[in-house]
């Protein structure tokens, strides 16, 4: 139950995000509440310090919250580990949730969505939130249980290698999706096949040097001119 309440509250952890203390307000909000529910008395000066600068990935914050409480209860200094974990979890969280899980959820949603768009977005939401809520839910209890050694759990599951594995799966299914959307969305002929291959190659080449929106704008302008010349 405690994990469920923490999960719910941690959904609002970054609502007060600003460049002064980043998510310090959110961490203070979560910590004060979690300490109260666990019957942990935090010294007012120490608690006051918690609203200062703090920044980590929103889906992994509960690990730090649990770790902090355990270390504080044990009488050690949780601040050093809070700082180290906030950086490391920022890196791990951004790499997995933002870099890899979103494309991973996307490719499956895109394939199913081509058949039924509603089913597609359901797949997207379920795939992403399965990981999102699992980490938020287990984070607090694991942080409490393992304290400063919570990183051991991440090493045990090889979490830093997940992004690459997920990306490779995404790459395969991106291929599946593009072949499928091409078959269903365009009238297939040799010309059209080469146009599609050309567009993909152009995307790959532009991606090395250009921002995606700039690349898209150039593509739109070029395509507009070419198709206008062709009288399309």
């Amino acid at each position: 139950m405690k994990s469920l309440i923490t999960l719910f509250k941690s959904l609002f952890y970054h609502a007060g995000l600003n460049h002064e203390n980043m998510q310090g307000t959110g961490f203070f909000y979560l910590l004060k509440d979690a300490a109260k529910r666990n019957g942990v008395e935090i010294d007012s000066a120490v608690l006051e310090n918690q609203r200062k600068y703090f920044h980590t990935h929103p889906f992994l914050v509960n690990f730090i919250l649990g770790m902090w409480l355990t270390e504080y209860k044990n009488g050690s200094d949780p601040e050093t580990f809070k700082k180290a974990y906030s950086s490391a979890f920022g890196a791990l969280g951004d790499s997995f949730f933002w870099h890899s899980l979103r494309p991973f959820s996307f490719v499956f949603a895109a394939i199913t969505g081509t058949v039924d768009p509603f089913l597609g977005i359901m797949i997207y939401l379920l795939t992403f939130n399965l990981f999102h809520f699992t980490f938020l839910f287990t984070g607090y209890s694991l942080g409490m249980e393992l304290g400063r050694d919570v990183i051991v759990w991440f090493n045990r599951i090889g979490f830093n290698k997940w992004p690459e594995h997920f990306d490779l799966v995404s790459v395969f299914f991106l291929g599946v999706f593009l072949a499928y959307i091409f078959k269903t969305g365009a009238e297939i002929s040799v010309d059209v096949f080469f146009i599609a291959a050309g567009y993909l190659a152009m995307g790959l080449i532009m991606a090395k040097k250009l921002d995606i929106t700039l690349g898209l704008m150039i593509n739109l302008i070029l395509s507009g001119i070419i198709f206008f010349q062709l009288g399309v």
């Binding site: 460049h19 002064e20 203390n21 980043m22 600068y53 920044h55 990935h57 050093t80 580990f81 180290a84 974990y85 906030s86 950086s87 490391a88 979890f89 920022g90 890196a91 791990l92 969280g93 951004d94 790499s95 933002w98 870099h99 400063r148 050694d149 990183i151 991440f154 090493n155 979490f159 830093n160 290698k161 992004p163 690459e164 921002d211």
Partner: protein, 163 residues
């Protein structure tokens, strides 16, 4: 981009570093230069665990880094050197030359500091140290590689004005 990148970032290894610098330039070698981290085995493990596969991390104190720097100059691949504070960067001042890209990523807000950018807050002493480095090479505020960097130029004027 120059092959050796000195970055001051008080969060050391975090999202911007991995998703930004490491993946953008395909950097396989990262060095964390911090007396605080070098002496703590658990913190070393925490940072080690945050790296993507294929990356190597060396964690050392500032003195160890200075002593072994000549070895680094011979390496042809990209090397990202992360330092926790402007003070640590100033201690390495004698190593800095035009082959090194010096940037400040994030120095978080603390009391009595001047907001140089929305992520970089420096006190008077740190500003003076940056000015001294700025006399030798350009120093940039640069969050992630694909965003424009801001060259630090006007600190001397600011200092004369007493901030």
């Amino acid at each position: 981009m120059k092959k050796i990148i000195f970055r001051v970032d008080d969060r050391l290894i975090h999202g911007q570093v991995i998703e930004g610098w490491v993946k953008y330039y395909k950097i396989h070698r990262i060095m964390v230069v911090s007396d605080r981290i070098a002496g703590d085995s658990l913190q070393r493990m925490i940072f080690q665990s945050a790296l993507p596969s294929g990356c190597t991390l060396e964690i050392m104190s500032v003195d160890q880094f200075i002593a072994g720097f000549s070895r680094l100059k011979k390496v042809k691949d990209y090397t990202l050197v992360l330092m926790e504070s402007v003070e640590d960067l100033a201690r390495c001042m004698n190593l800095i030359d035009s082959d090194i890209y010096v940037n400040i990523g994030c120095v978080a807000c603390r009391e009595h500091k001047v907001e140089v950018s929305n992520t970089v807050f420096l006190d008077l002493n740190e500003i003076e140290q940056v000015c001294s480095i700025r006399d030798m090479v350009e120093v940039y505020i640069h969050k992630v590689p694909w965003e424009p960097s801001v060259e630090i130029r006007n600190f001397s004027k600011l200092l004369k004005g007493g901030l």
